[in-house]
Every structure is written in structure tokens, then in C-alpha cells.
């Protein structure tokens, strides 16, 4: 590690390439965002290579792929870590965990930015079984990740815990299979998803689990699917876990209010979401207990007709 590497807001051309990089990951494709990561710490790079393998791995990017660079300076530096996206600085910090958090955040942001013209993107988790999907739209901290993690135990396969991509032409849900980002509050109810983090990189990822769904089942990564069920979860400590049916217009409003880019798609996007709702049974779910929530979702999923309204 070197303390002489400056980290200006925009790195001059060629300067980043001159850094003594120890590791460059493969190219990954997350919806329309193609990227790789290079690091000065080889073990961190190897960790990322494994972590991002829930995305599609591509030999070469379709267009010019984007590169994240994680700079690490001497422990004596006041701002030890720097994170760049191509030549633009995203973050500098003395805390490794913080910089890595910014990396995951920026990948999410780029996915939304690059994929938004092609998909209507919902702030929703999603899972599928036998080619049919359940969408879990909700605000932050509502329990989307915990609920979709619980569904993996019931034989569902993972599509996303962050951004559900709806193709407005086909109404198919396209997977955004980032690792599950599990907060400490859910660690006790999802012990089987505890990730294996090599000791050498443990200091980079302390505040959150980044879990590969294949820990639960090697076949846990889902395929594109059409929605059969919409369930909007809300975790409430101590509450009775229960489902409340939503009228179609309420479900549509829930999807629309949890969309990143509906206004960009306009009436075509609104119609697409309405068509998704028409094909689904729709509920609001109060979650007091995860196992009860998973059982309720599984039950309505199994009872929902293959094509609602058919």
C-alpha cells in the first residue's frame, strides 16, 4: 500500500491506470450495468470476484464497461480508502466498511440509471417458483430483504432484494441478482444465510451481510418470470402476521409509488404496471414473524391461479 496516491475528485487520465493494482475482477452484467472492480488488496479483489458472481459473468462488455477502483493508502493516511468509478471519485474515507458500502450503493444506482430506459424499475424484492414470480414492493426498512430471504427457505428462487425490473413489452420480471444485503436486525432469523467472509477481508464488511442466495440452495438463482402475486410487506415488531387483500387500484398505486422511473416511461409504463396487476393477486402483509409471513405468502402463491382473471 502506498501513501503517495492522491485522490482528487476527478483523476487525471492515465493516473488511475498507473496505480499498482493487485487484482482485477471479471466483467459482470447487472441488468444493463456492466462493470469490473480493481483493488490494491488482492484478497479484497478475490472476495469481490466471488461476491458479484450472482450477476451474469461476461467475457467482454457489450459497450465500454465501467471500472470501479478501490484505492488503499497507508494506515497513517487520514483518508485511507478511495473509491473511483472510472475517473470520478465516489468516496474517500478512513473506514473500509464505509467505502465498500458506497461501492454497493453505487452499483445499485448505476443499475437504475443504465437500465431505466429499458425497464420499469420498482423498489421491490422478488422471487420466483416454477416460472411465476412474487413481487414485494415496499419502502426502505420495511422488510423486503428479510422476507425474500425467508422465501428462499420455502423453495422460491431469488430474483432481487432491491430493484425489480419489469419489461413493459413482455411484462417479464428480469432478475437483478445482487447479493442479499442483510442488516444486523435480521441476522438472528436468517442464520443459514450467514456469509463466509475470509478473515483477511472481514474488516471491509462488518455492518451488513452480503449473502449469496446459493448458500441456501445451489439452485437458488431465479430466472425471468411473470408475476403471479404482489405482496407489499411491512415489518412490525410484535404484530400479528396477516395478509390484507388489496384492490387492483391499490396494488397499482403501491407499484407506482415504489417505482424509480415510472414518469420516464409515462403512460406506457403505467399501462404495463396495470397489466402486471391484472395478472396478480394482491395483498398487503404485516410481518410480525418471518416464518408465518413465508407460510402465508407460499399459501396464497400456490392457490393463485396461473393466470388471474382467466
Amino acid at each position: 500500500m502506498s501513501s503517495y496516491i492522491r485522490t482528487p475528485p476527478r483523476m487525471p487520465a492515465g493516473r488511475l491506470d498507473a496505480v499498482p493494482w493487485a487484482y482485477r475482477t471479471r466483467w459482470f452484467r447487472a441488468l444493463e450495468h456492466e462493470f469490473s472492480v480493481r483493488t490494491m488488496d488482492p484478497e479484497l479483489g478475490a472476495y469481490f470476484d466471488e461476491l458479484f458472481a450472482t450477476f451474469d459473468v461476461v467475457a467482454e462488455p457489450r459497450d465500454q464497461g465501467r471500472v470501479y477502483s478501490v484505492i488503499e493508502r497507508s494506515p497513517r493516511s487520514r483518508t485511507r480508502f478511495g473509491l473511483y468509478f472510472d475517473r470520478e471519485r465516489i468516496s474517500i474515507a478512513n473506514n473500509a466498511d464505509l467505502v465498500i458500502g458506497y461501492l454497493f450503493w453505487h452499483i445499485n444506482r448505476q443499475v437504475v440509471e443504465t437500465s431505466g430506459s429499458r425497464y420499469v424499475l420498482l423498489h421491490a424484492a422478488a422471487a420466483e417458483r416454477d416460472g411465476a414470480a412474487v413481487i414485494l414492493p415496499a419502502r426502505m426498512e420495511s422488510g423486503k430483504t428479510t422476507t425474500v430471504s425467508g422465501l428462499l427457505r420455502a423453495g422460491f428462487r431469488y430474483l432481487t432484494d432491491e430493484a425489480t425490473a419489469v419489461d413493459p413489452d413482455t411484462l417479464m420480471i428480469e432478475p437483478y441478482r445482487k447479493t442479499l444485503s442483510i442488516d444486523p436486525g435480521s441476522w438472528s432469523v436468517l442464520p443459514e444465510l450467514r456469509p463466509h467472509v475470509p478473515d483477511a477481508v472481514a474488516h471491509y464488511v462488518r455492518s451488513q451481510w452480503h449473502s449469496d442466495p446459493r448458500i441456501v440452495d445451489p439452485d437458488a438463482l431465479g430466472s425471468p418470470a411473470r408475476a403471479r402475486l404482489i405482496v407489499s410487506p411491512r415489518y412490525e415488531s410484535g404484530a400479528t402476521t396477516e395478509l390484507e387483500p388489496l384492490r387492483p387500484v391499490q396494488a397499482l398505486l403501491t407499484l407506482a409509488e415504489n417505482s424509480f422511473n415510472l414518469v420516464d416511461h409515462g403512460r406506457r409504463g403505467l399501462q404495463a404496471l396495470a397489466d402486471v396487476v391484472e395478472g396478480c393477486e394482491c395483498y398487503r402483509l404485516t410481518v410480525g414473524d418471518l416464518d408465518d409471513a413465508v407460510a402465508l405468502i407460499s399459501d396464497v402463491f400456490d392457490r393463485a391461479p396461473a393466470e388471474v382473471g382467466a
Binding site: 450503493w105 445499485n108 444506482r109 437504475v112 420498482l122 423498489h123 426502505m140 432491491e162 430493484a163 384492490r247 387492483p248 387500484v249 397499482l252 398505486l253 407506482a256 409509488e257 415504489n258 417505482s259 424509480f260 415510472l262 414518469v263 409515462g266 403512460r267 403505467l270 399501462q271 396495470a274 396487476v277 391484472e278
Partner: protein
């Protein structure tokens, strides 16, 4: 990351038109061209493609708003609606005017200044004053 509406950061829009409370039977209601509408089982969701705002209409409003196409005054519309609903014309007029004023306040009608909008700047006189 948070989903949400676009914010152009330029403050309230200015719009030429009347105040919603001025809407009466002589008004010709028409949804703005930026309003997308989709109906599900008798209820509608409206999306303002400019602001990203969302609006839900109940069954009655859903039915009536489809008549807000700029083709006739409220007085003309209520005659047909009263016949369709089997209701008294005056009662229907009262309801339709109330609906139009409500949609106007929400910035959904052409020629009406929404409650989050400002009147257009007055144009100066020809002598420059």
C-alpha cells in the same frame, strides 16, 4: 436509493388559467395532455407525466372523468350523465362541478391553475408599462 418523483428544482410552475373555484357549469373540462389514465375494475389511477404525481379516482369520478375531453361544457355533460345515472340534473351538476374543481386543484385540468402552481406572469402593455 429511493424511488420518487422528479424535481426540476425551479419552484412552482406558472400557468395561464382560472382558479379552480371559478369552475362552473359553463366551463369546458379537459384533462391535460400530460395526464395518463388507466382504469382497473372501475377505478382509475392518473399519472402526471410532467410532475410524476399520482391520483386515484373512485368509481364515480372514474366514470365522469372520461367525459372531460374538451368536447362540451359541464352543463352539457350533466344532462347526459343525469340520464345515465337516473339522477336529478342539479345534483349531478353539483357533483361534477365539485369533481372538476378537485381535479383542477390537483393540476390535472387544462386551463386551470393547480394549487401548487402560480398564475402566469402578466404580459406588459404595449406602451411598455
Amino acid at each position: 436509493m429511493k424511488p420518487g418523483r422528479p424535481d426540476n428544482g425551479h419552484g412552482p410552475a406558472r400557468r395561464a388559467g382560472i382558479d379552480p373555484d371559478e369552475i362552473d357549469g359553463a366551463f369546458v373540462p379537459e384533462l391535460r395532455s400530460s395526464i395518463a389514465s388507466v382504469e382497473l375494475h372501475g377505478e382509475a389511477v392518473l399519472l402526471d407525466e410532467v410532475t410524476g404525481s399520482l391520483h386515484v379516482l373512485n368509481a364515480m369520478a372514474t366514470l365522469v372523468h372520461t367525459c372531460f375531453d374538451g368536447a362540451g361544457t359541464i352543463d352539457e355533460l350533466v344532462v347526459d350523465l343525469a340520464e345515465a345515472f337516473g339522477e336529478d340534473v342539479d345534483t349531478v351538476r353539483e357533483d361534477v362541478v365539485a369533481l372538476a374543481r378537485d381535479l383542477g386543484r390537483q393540476g390535472l385540468l387544462d386551463g386551470v391553475i393547480g394549487e401548487n402552481e402560480l398564475p402566469a406572469e402578466p404580459v406588459g402593455d404595449e406602451d411598455g408599462t
